[in-house]
């Protein structure tokens, strides 16, 4: 179980001025602003959960992760990872966790993957037979064999990621923190990483905390999602809850033959109808409506009666659009917590 309680991290940002003159000036001034990278964040994650932690660049995702992994000292608040304070009790905490930074390999540049793994085995004191089992498991799901004896510096990005991912799990951590594990990878490798994450979560009950910009990762891997923006949590709940809360608008697209277009005389809906919007486009019309205020069937039959319709398409809201809407609203939107 991981608990994060009113966790904050502030950075001092010294005011800089432009150009050479500005640089000289700022040398003699010590004006700074406090930037709250993470601002009183609280949540708790049970063992075995898989949580997507998302937000725009600079929202505070990585900073939160770095506090949970003991790399950064929180400015205030508390964080416990399986009962251990990550910063003050760093060495005990890191035994329980695995960490993958998509932007940076944790393996030793000059060593072959095989040697890196055997050094990690010694560092984490993994018993020989357990190590062999894990190695076989990861070699299988990540297909490490083709580059197992190659020095890390000669690996492709995708191979490095697979090796890094396996390396972070050799010691059977209770929780694995994945910071953008699929960044820059091709679809095939992405798929392999995603299915590996699902496997360890399902088969080994490893808790997964994942940050990413690829919402496909979240949709495939996570059951719960936490959205952070400007250091504050905007949403915390299941993906379905996200859709019902933010994705109330649905679209029905009616395809109308060209010959019939532009002949409409009376409007489809009374001009003061709430929760409904009609958009014309070259191939027909799109009716946007709020799911909780209107029935799909009623809308369709009404339109069918008044227009000659060739085809109908009902669109589910895309998670991408929902999240984008949350991001754009930013902290102006209200915080919704649905478990």
């Amino acid at each position: 179980m991981i608990t994060v309680d009113n966790l904050s991290k502030e950075f001092k940002v010294y005011e800089k001025q432009e150009g050479f003159k500005g640089a000289v000036k700022s040398l003699f001034s010590s004006k700074y602003k406090i930037k709250k990278a993470v601002d009183q964040v609280s949540f708790s994650i049970d063992a075995g959960e898989s949580v997507g932690y998302i937000g725009v660049n600079g929202a505070g995702k990585s900073t939160t992760l770095k506090m949970m992994t003991g790399i950064l000292l929180p400015t205030s608040g508390e964080c416990r990872v399986f009962g251990v304070d990550p910063f003050t009790n760093r060495r005990n905490n890191v035994k329980n966790i695995g960490v993958v930074f998509g932007q940076r390999s944790q393996l030793w540049w000059d060593l072959p993957v095989s040697e890196s793994f055997s050094i990690l085995q010694k560092i984490y004191q993994v018993p020989q037979n357990r190590f062999r089992e894990n190695l076989a498991f990861f070699k299988n799901i990540l297909e490490l064999d083709e580059f197992y004896l190659t020095p890390v510096r000669n690996l492709s990005l995708g191979q490095k990621m697979r090796a890094d991912f396996a390396a972070s799990l050799l010691h059977d951590p209770k929780v694995v923190f994945l910071d953008e594990p699929t960044i820059g990878l091709d679809i095939v490798v992405k798929d392999r990483i995603r299915s590996a994450i699902k496997d360890i979560n399902a088969q080994r009950n490893t808790t997964v905390i994942l940050t990413t910009h690829d919402l496909q990762d979240i949709q495939e891997v996570c059951r719960r999602i936490i959205v952070i923006d400007e250091g504050k949590i905007l949403f915390d709940g299941s993906i379905d809850a996200l859709k019902t809360n933010y994705g109330r608008w649905r679209n029905i697209h009616f395809e109308i033959p060209l010959t019939e277009q532009g002949e409409a005389t009376e409007p489809l809906f009374p001009p003061d109808s709430e929760g409904i919007e009609v958009i014309d486009d070259p191939s027909g019309i799109t009716v946007k409506f709020q799911r909780d205020m209107h029935q799909v069937g009623e809308l369709i039959s009404r339109v069918m009666k008044m227009r000659q319709v060739r085809d109908i398409k009902i669109n589910e809201p895309e998670m991408q659009d929902i999240v984008k809407a949350i991001y754009l609203k930013g902290s102006a939107g209200r915080t919704i917590g649905v478990q």
Binding site: I71, L73, N92, V94, Q106, W108, L111, I119, Y124
Partner: protein, 276 residues
């Protein structure tokens, strides 16, 4: 501790392997460093071919300082070179973070990650010069002398270690402290020559109290070849004679180590892990 050496030896084996892989690179490095050593030795030799002694020291005694300084620097260079990377770039690019997610001491991880074989040349040449000078000066060591010798050796290594760690720690505040570390390290070469060669009281105090390189080279050597009173006079500390001098050296070493570890710890608290 056992685990430490087990992992250290794993890294060591890997390095030897890659040495074999990059034979030419290693050989070139050794040759270049060898030249450097021989050159500085020749300067000393050239000076002494004109004069037989500097101050109160004979040529052989000068060689003793020279050899010892070289040997210490070489030893430190071999085992504790990786800490430089913290000062140069590990804080700046955030790669320092990787030490924080392993269940081992941070400094031990840094130390064990890389042995610097280049330092081996320095060490060996230093050792040869030292042995030569040791024989020429006709020194004879009793068992007690060897103990004192070992004690000084240890203090010297700790001083080098503490100064490097302190220099690297500064990078937590300044992002990069490689230049500072270089300057500190270069000042260390002052102590190839005896402390009393420097007439300025400021330089002397600097080398005793601030960057105590004098305790690494000069004090240990002069201990064996001069009277206690002579050392106390030059140090400017009347009571620092005999075992009091040993205490003084150890005490200063420990203070420096404490200061350096304290700064390091304080630095860790404000490490801000740049880069995602």
């Amino acid at each position: 501790m056992i685990r430490f050496f087990r992992i250290y030896s794993a890294f060591f084996k890997q390095q030897v392997k890659s040495l074999i892989e990059y034979k030419l690179d290693f050989a070139a490095g050794m040759v270049a460093l060898g030249f450097q050593q021989v050159a500085s030795f020749l300067v000393l030799f050239a000076v002494f071919s004109q004069i037989q002694a500097i101050g109160s020291y004979s040529f052989d005694e000068m060689l003793l300082f020279f050899g010892w300084a070289q040997l210490m620097k070489g030893f430190d260079h071999v085992y504790n070179d990786n800490i430089w990377t913290v000062g140069w770039w590990r804080i700046r690019d955030g790669s320092f973070s990787q030490f924080l997610i392993r269940p081992l001491g941070i400094v031990s991880q840094i130390v064990m990650e890389r042995l610097q074989f280049d330092g081996l040349g320095e060490f060996l040449i230093g050792l040869l010069i030292f042995i030569y000078a040791f024989i020429r000066t006709g020194l004879r060591f009793s068992f007690g002398d060897w103990l004192v010798f070992g004690y000084f050796f240890l203090c010297g290594l700790v001083i080098y270690f503490a100064l490097k760690l302190l220099g690297a720690s500064v990078a937590f505040w300044t992002i990069s402290s490689g230049e500072l570390m270089t300057v500190t390290y270069e000042i260390g070469s002052f102590t190839r020559y005896p402390l009393d060669m420097y007439k300025s009281a400021i330089i002397r105090s600097l080398l005793i109290y601030v960057l105590p390189f004098a305790l690494v080279t000069w004090v240990p050597m002069v201990w064996f070849i001069r009277e206690p009173q002579f050392i106390a006079d030059i140090l400017g500390i009347p009571w620092a004679r005999g075992s009091a001098l040993l205490g003084f050296t150890g005490g200063l070493t420990l203070i420096l180590l404490g200061l350096s570890v304290g700064t390091w710890k304080a630095g860790l608290r404000r490490y801000n892990a740049t880069g995602t």
